[in-house]
């Protein structure tokens, strides 16, 4: 697999199709990190193994990366989903990005353009794995007071470092609402209220957009299981609205079902 990626990266770079390949390379110690290959002869530095789970799509949105020219990106399923969503949000044109797609079965997928990518993502709708669903269900099974205690315990660790935001490819807003102070939507201090408001807001802003890559949870330095919130919403969207819309909150059905409106 790694060889195939290196080969593909070489081809793309030497043919001039892209100016930079974004992939995984050796980091400090045993860790992998994002690397930016600009010369075909450097392609050998690319790595692909079990450690390569970071969602690299966020880099595509950075000015510094865009300045390097057309990029190719090593993309597992969550990255492909991110790109599809960002495309729907008009953040990319076909000419901006090429992908070296890797399927969930760990095989190279040929996605010649972003339309092919869109079709591929559409054919593989986002679903929680049974393990993920079980974890969501475990919380649902608690009493409300237990859930409150659970999240109070978790969010009390939050130091509002915003690593969750920085690592998320969907959090590309130039000025996040947490920084808006006229009016002050989110309480500034990292106290219980400020933390709760921040995490509710982030989950809602990702509703219908989150691709369940888990980057927020991996990035969190204090270990808050943030992705559970997004997973709850992902399951709700699938259960309530189906999967056909690109963005569930900008769409509706006249007969959307609920059981709480009087």
């Amino acid at each position: 697999m790694q060889d195939k990626i290196i080969q593909k990266a070489k081809e793309l770079l030497s043919g001039g199709a892209v100016q930079v390949v974004i992939g995984y390379g050796q980091g400090t110690g045993d860790r992998v990190r994002a690397i930016f290959i600009q010369k075909p002869e450097d392609a050998g530095r690319l790595i692909m193994d079990g450690r390569c789970v970071q969602n690299l799509a966020g880099y595509l949105m950075k000015h510094e990366v865009r300045a390097l020219g057309r990029a190719a990106i090593v993309a597992r399923m969550p990255v492909l989903r991110s790109i599809a969503q960002l495309m729907y949000e008009e953040q990319f044109k076909d000419s901006d990005v090429a992908v070296i797609g890797i399927s969930d079965a760990n095989e190279l997928v040929d996605l010649p353009d972003l339309n092919a990518l869109k079709e591929y993502v559409r054919a593989n709708p986002l679903k929680l794995t049974p393990e993920e669903q079980a974890e969501v269900d475990r919380l649902d099974a608690m009493t409300r007071e237990e859930r409150w205690a659970f999240w109070m315990e978790e969010t009390s660790k939050c130091i509002k470092c915003y690593a969750c935001r920085a690592s998320c490819p969907m959090c590309y807003c130039a000025r996040c609402t947490v920084e808006v102070n006229q009016p002050q939507w989110i309480s500034v201090p990292s106290h219980d209220l400020g933390n709760l408001e921040w995490h509710i807001m982030r989950a809602m802003h990702l509703a219908g957009r989150c691709v369940n890559c888990g980057e927020c949870t991996r990035a969190c330095p204090v270990g808050i299981p943030l992705r559970l919130l997004n997973q709850r919403i992902i399951a709700d969207i699938a259960d309530n609205f189906g999967e056909e819309e690109d963005y569930a909150l900008a769409a509706f059905k006249p007969d959307d079902k609920e059981d709480f409106i009087r």
Binding site: W148, T177, M204, R232, D236, L249, I261
Partner: protein, 151 residues
Amino acid sequence: MAEFEPKIIAFVCNWCTYTGADLTGTSRIKHATNVRIIRLPCTGRIDFMLLMKAFARGADGVIVSGCHPNDCHYTSGNFHARRRWILFRSLLNFMGVDARRIIFSWVSAAEGAKWAEVVNTAVKEIRALGPYDEYKNLAPIRASWRTEHAG
């Protein structure tokens, strides 16, 4: 000891529920005094953050109300709002926030009596739940100007 009087903030649309509450008035249907209405053009305008801020401001309950489905003055604002509420309510519940304290309803401009009932029921239910100290204790709340200056 005096009965607990919950503080309830209502976010309502201008065309149906606000007008319906006007009708409650013109019909002189008496109901509890606990609710303060904030008027917005449409339920589509009601940001979920406003609901959070209402609790942060010390509300014990929140009412959100607008036009019945298919009756929206803006055709589909309430449909968008409904989707938002479905996800938001589930998320709050998942986080252990007491979603029973947010009462959603459709009250049309003709349903003056229904509005009074929504208000009375909300007051009764929230009173039974007690003050929302759990949320109020998250951070100190400055007393409102009125409680400090006008009784």
